[in-house]
Symmetry: C2
Subunit: 361 residues, 2 copies
């Protein structure tokens, strides 16, 4: 869907003539009251569920569909690709009208709040005044939270999984290393690599490898790969793969560099870095959540998630409780680290199923 009215961004810049790609699942009821917006995280898209024309399964298909915890027989589910992404909505690979060249590194810096505002305009265009719920995990969870702060009247319930009220220093540090790998790749060309016919593949690979380590728990990596060798005997090489985990990470990095845009990676990690609703309130997270007094929250975290640890979700719970805002919180004992939010752990999905059944009722 195309939008011509300029979108003011938090940075002070604005973006005119942008488009957002989206998918919907299920039917909007006559009262237009059963819409659920699903917000995506770093490398996902509007394609939340089902098979697309390329036979690719939606990234949250285990959760969203007929009879699934977010049941599309009852809810009208909307997946939208965020601005700055490389999966269809306006982003760095698109043409900058001012130059006639791809935006590249000149694409304006977008924040979680900007995404939420753009999503609200999409809802306007779809004729949806108020969401039954907004749902997201990780960076998507930050968007779900931001909905209740910027547009509290336009959403009833917020379901935020494996998220945090801001990035920790360590989180920012990992993002920064990933960005340095990309930016210092000679094929990055200051973010204007498109015109050179190259992509900063090496930097993207290293960035993805770093990210991947932080998505998995130490234990789940141990269980899946341990110290298993690729060959029966040690090869005693500094350059070649010795351990299965090395082979796995290289594969993940290569796959990622085939489809992901380097400028998008920079934009999205920066959106993560910048998200910090307490900042405008002198660091007081409870004050930040005051506008959400009429919303209802469901938060879920995973015990082995060391990227967005349960303690980070508990900070949000405390801020909500301080405001006497209704919140349910589940801390799921799951071995898979941050990635658990994408998996179909039965206790986790049980919580979300019960939540959406309550919302539907």
């Amino acid at each position: 869907m195309s939008f011509s009215r300029p979108l003011p961004l938090r940075s002070g810049a604005s973006l005119a003539d942008y488009s957002l790609v989206y998918e919907t699942y299920g039917e909007l009821n006559p009262a237009r009251s059963n819409a659920v917006l699903v917000c995506h995280a770093l490398n996902a898209s509007h394609h939340v569920a089902g098979l697309d024309p390329d036979q690719s399964l939606g990234w949250w298909d285990n959760l969203v569909g007929p009879g699934k915890p977010l049941d599309t027989r009852r809810f009208f589910v909307i997946g939208v690709n965020n601005l700055g992404s490389c999966f269809g909505s306006t982003g760095p690979t698109h043409t900058n009208p001012a130059s006639g060249q791809p935006w590249g590194a000149d694409f304006p810096v977008v924040t979680v709040e900007d995404w939420v505002d753009a999503q609200a305009r999409l809802l306007d265009a779809l004729g949806i005044n108020r969401l039954a719920a907004v749902l997201g995990g990780s960076l998507g969870g930050m968007q779900a939270l931001a909905w209740t702060l910027r547009h509290p009247q336009r959403v009833a319930e917020c379901v935020a999984v494996a998220t945090a009220p801001n990035l920790s220093t360590q989180n920012i540090a990992f993002n920064e290393v990933a960005r340095r790998a990309i930016i210092t790749d000679p094929d990055f060309h200051g973010g204007h690599f498109y015109r050179h016919g190259v992509i900063p593949r090496r930097g993207l690979q290293v960035a993805r490898m770093i990210g991947h380590i932080t998505y998995l728990s130490d234990d789940s990596m141990e269980a899946k790969f341990g110290r298993e060798l690729r060959s029966p005997e040690l090869g005693y090489s500094t350059l070649d793969v010795e351990f299965q985990i090395e082979s796995y990470l290289r594969y993940q990095g290569e796959k990622f560099s085939d489809y992901f845009d380097a400028n998008t990676y920079l934009l999205i990690t920066r959106a993560l870095d910048y998200f910090d609703p307490a900042r405008d309130h002198g660091g007081d997270l409870a004050a930040a959540f005051a506008p959400a007094r009429d919303n209802r929250f469901t938060l879920v975290s995973f015990t082995t998630d060391w990227r967005f640890a349960p303690a980070r979700s508990r900070e949000i719970v405390k801020a909500l409780v301080d405001n006497r805002i209704a919140v349910s919180y589940a801390e799921i004992a799951a071995p898979h680290g941050h990635d658990a939010f994408l998996l179909d752990d039965p206790r986790y999905h049980g919580v979300l199923r019960a939540t959406f059944e309550r919302i539907a009722a």
Copy 2:
């Protein structure tokens, strides 16, 4: 000190005509029974204590010296730089006699066990048959452990700090990402960058930034940098520094790339990956420690060390106890993560002081 007799390496290769640089502190007693060998970790050297001619302070000066926990008025302390390093002992920057060119990536892969064997030859040359103790932290701790497995008669006590019986999958994963950053830097030239007059500076910087994050605890990064900005206001940039932690990491990376050799980084991270004494015993760590039955051990770990967590030290303690080998173990509540082993936490230094006083007595 130069050695002409070839050193057989675990890989099957051997190294002839190598030299080891070392420093000593204190006096060897007439019985030659008061020698303590200090083994270094990733980016340290033979310069353990005091000021060198460049006025640079030894890397463990807070621990080693007159009146310090390892008291050089009582002990003859030896610091030795390991093979493959870039601080003086034979390594990739030296000339490969076979080619007349720098070794570069052709330098043979060296292991913890190879280092220990080379150290034993240095002791031969110094006329020291038996060490009062071998001491090391992190990778140095692995060498201290390996001494008791390869040369148990030549050492009385093993003091191993912040170490592990092998790397976890996650540890290997971080090493692999760091290596990929170096190897895929176009200035690496397959490890023969010296002849091109360049160094893979970008790769080394990223490698060091990754390493640095794993040396610090989440909490200590939070306490030191938090989400503090470099400028009073957000700059909304993907390319420039916004947060102090970014500035700090970039500085650490740049400093490191000025003095550290890329091939050495690969060799040393591989030595870490390969260390696994249980491997030759079907994964049975207790069986691996059987040769150390007459040694005495002191192990120290730090609660916030997530690189070599206390649980890893406890695995070693269990293997020793299973062998009825004497072991003291201290788990120090310290906020500084893995780096704590280099700091002068009073409880930690108290443990080492008491240990060396007992050994001296």
